[in-house]
Amino acid sequence: MSSSLLARNAEDVFWLARSIERAENLARILEVNETFARDSRGVRNWLSIVQLNADMESFSAKHATPSADNVIGFYLTDVGNPTSIVAAIANARENARSLRPLLSTEMWVQLNVFHNRLKTIECDDLAPGNLSPLLTEIKEACQTFTGITEGTFYRDQAWYFYRLGQYIERADQTTRLLDTKYHLLAGGRGGAAPAEVGQWHALLRSASGYHAFRRIYSSRLTPALVAEFLLFNPSFPRSLFLCVREVENAFSELKSRYALRQGNGVAEHLDGLRAILGAVSIEEILSGGLHDFLDMLQLRLIAITRGLSEAFFGRRAAPASGQQQSQNWLTNEQLAMPLQRASGDG
């Protein structure tokens, strides 16, 4: 009879999954930037990572320049930055602490040891040559957690909220990643300028999609094909299309298996999202402006999260007074900050 999930635990497990997914993506992006993302002059653009995370304001409050050291420190070890890897894993562990009665011991131990490991990172670990192995270690620790979860987490309601969190975050990360390069796509129908090819490779590697892309488009690499792949490919595990499908599957299974009546708003947003992804071509998106399209997708994902909060997490509905207000209700920073949420009284 103890199968009914506490609203608080549903929220915790949702954010646990998002934090792990987020840390993994961030580690991959930093690693690719460290290793591959040099432009024609051999310069790596660290600012794009700050832009991708919508952290311009908080970053510039702490650092004068987007140097490699500053950006890496900001995203890897800065506990004061809520969007850093250490903060994501600290949040994940806090969520896991609340969830301990529901998690398998193996899930908890792996995350606990991982969290303690991150606390031992020293300056020297961030030096050139050491950074890449460290980021690989972090990425693999997140993947280990995901694997242990797949292998040991009991398949009740909590599992569905885990999947919802995991795929919503992954979808969000993919839109952000693509967004960092949208300016290169302005009117870009043809092949990538030679100077930019490296950037597109890096983008695919950041999403762990380089080799999959090569298998499908072995002879071509155009910006439009990259965008199409990341948005629409039905088999690539980080494409927006696949993530949305996983969210839909998890949501409908959750609802039907447990006869849950709430969450109609979430279903509507998901229907809308699928309709958009099924109806629009990459050419239409590029001519209409990729950035605006990605922006719209991100707002939809935020709306889905908000819908879940209201329907299942016992969160109060935001005042319904226009688009502006609802955008303010959940900023990107708040989305990435389960701790701030937990300290409120909602």
Binding site: L6, A7, R8, R100, P101, W108
Partner: protein
């Protein structure tokens, strides 16, 4: 030359749990043959495993949260079957008498009218809950979980120091310590038949069902915790898992029409029994401390209406008051017409002028304890105290005598304990856990706490104590 575990070990005249024990000699022989470096290495691995498993309590200081394990000493403490039977029967007797006492105090108060207990000791006590007057609980089981602190004196006699009848903690360490021993020292346990301890969660669930207002196997039980920032949070997680019930916080619960519900993703779900790990004071801001953020407004209304069971019952604090404890022999005789099976420690209630005079005159030979404190706080141990500490204690006694009791300083037994790579005698106590619903069950053994500091008599984890696995032989 390889040094062996018991080589050169000297209990220095104290009663030693290992050397004096009539228990199975094989443990002694195995320890005697084990290199001390081997013990130390495996004990270190075990402590690291405890840390990784998160079997920890959290200490908070300036923006920092530090996880600490309860230090685990790998040399087990052994009780042979007749020693355990004696303790078990004595604990059941005490719990039975205390439950009868609570039922009487919250109903007819015969014991006060008969002059066995002074009325002002009860009615003026901060832990007495007038709200419980006239309230009956199923099976008169007020104290569903009791932890009885027992020491052993220089003659090997077990003596009860006190009963913990509010929310006693430590049981998770009993079970985790055993699991750690099984993992790290399978060779020490080989072929030695021990009483099992793994059905604690099951026994708890049975007792919770016994006190549920409804019956029939559909009871919704929850464990109510103050939350992740509570230092005993690990134990709350442990218990919820062992019982297979949701771990809730006050904010997960709501009272409507005097019924208690938890907020689930599918809406409100009715709750029948709450095993609470929150003190009375914080349970319901409407009934007790209005500033409590941990409790559930209206919970007492639901409880008094008989719509929810709460374990332990509200108001049990009066039964573990140290001044009331001094009357235990009389309480047991009054309700059960039996002599106490377990000895106590002669206790002076300083509220009594004669006792106060005696205590002040023998301060340097007595242990002085505040009556309502737990966790080893506020205790002065006369023989170990400095002049200044004795003066301070004297001033407190004179200012508020009713707040103190005094007892002779028991020469606690010791057990061999690994300290900085050497095995030394350290003082230990024992806290068996009794679970009561329709009947009382005592988990075999209990928590053996060990005072790691040389000469220290205070075993509490908050005061530098550790713990040992406790073996009860078949």
């Amino acid at each position: 030359m390889v040094k062996l575990v018991l080589q050169g070990y000297d209990p220095k005249g104290f009663y030693c749990e290992l050397l004096n024990s009539a228990a199975d000699p094989r443990l002694r022989e195995r320890l005697a043959a084990m290199p001390i470096g081997d013990l130390a290495r495996r004990a270190g691995d075990a402590e690291e495993a405890l840390y990784n498993l998160g079997i920890t309590f959290t200490v908070y200081s300036d923006n920092d949260a530090i996880d600490r394990i309860l230090p685990f000493d790998a040399i087990p403490r052994v009780l042979c079957s007749h020693e355990w039977q004696h303790i078990e029967r004595g604990v059941v007797q005490r719990v039975t008498a205390l439950n009868l006492l609570l039922d009487d105090l919250y109903h007819e108060q015969k014991i006060l009218r008969d002059g066995v207990l002074p009325a002002e000791l009860i009615l003026g006590n901060a832990n007495y809950r007038p709200a419980m007057q006239g309230v009956s609980v199923p099976h008169k089981a007020y104290i569903n979980i009791c932890g009885t602190d027992i020491v052993r004196d220089a003659d090997g006699v077990f003596r009860v120091l006190e009963d913990n009848a509010r929310t006693p903690s430590g049981v998770s360490y009993v079970i985790e310590n055993r699991h750690m021993m099984l993992r790290a020292f399978p060779d020490l346990l080989e072929d030695i038949p021990l009483r099992g301890i793994d059905d604690y969660g099951l026994k708890l669930v049975e007792a919770m069902c016994d006190i549920a207002p409804v019956s029939g196997g559909e009871e919704q039980i929850v464990l109510l915790s103050p939350g992740v920032y509570n230092s005993a949070y690990f134990e709350h997680v442990f218990l919820a898992r062992e019982m297979g019930v949701p771990l809730v916080e006050g904010r997960d619960l709501i009272v409507q029409d005097d019924r208690v519900y938890m907020r689930t993703i599918a809406g409100m779900r009715r709750i029948d029994v709450i095993y609470r790990r929150i003190n009375d004071d914080f349970l319901d801001p409407e009934a007790f401390r209005p500033d409590s953020m941990l409790g559930v407004p209206g919970l007492m209304r639901a409880y008094l209406a008989g719509n929810v069971g709460i374990a332990n019952a509200v108001g049990t604090g009066i039964a573990d008051d140290k001044a009331v404890c001094a009357y235990m022999p009389r309480i047991i005789r009054y309700y059960l017409d039996e002599d106490p099976l377990l000895a106590g420690v002669e206790t002076q209630n300083c509220r009594d002028p004669e006792s106060l005079r005696y205590t002040l005159a023998h301060l340097d030979r007595l242990v002085i304890k505040p009556v309502g404190e737990a966790g080893g706080y506020g205790i002065t141990i006369g023989p170990l105290a400095s002049r200044a500490e004795l003066d301070e204690c004297r001033a407190k006694l004179v200012a508020d005598p009713a707040n103190y009791i005094s007892q002779p300083c028991v020469s606690l037994s010791v057990a061999p304990t690994l300290i900085d790579g050497a095995v030394r005698p350290r003082h230990v106590d024992l806290r068996p856990f009794a679970v009561t619903g329709a009947s009382t069950w005592v988990m075999p053994g209990g928590l053996t706490r060990v005072a790691l500091r040389e000469g220290s008599l205070i075993v509490n984890s908050s005061q530098g104590g550790g713990s040992k696995d406790t073996w009860v032989l078949e």
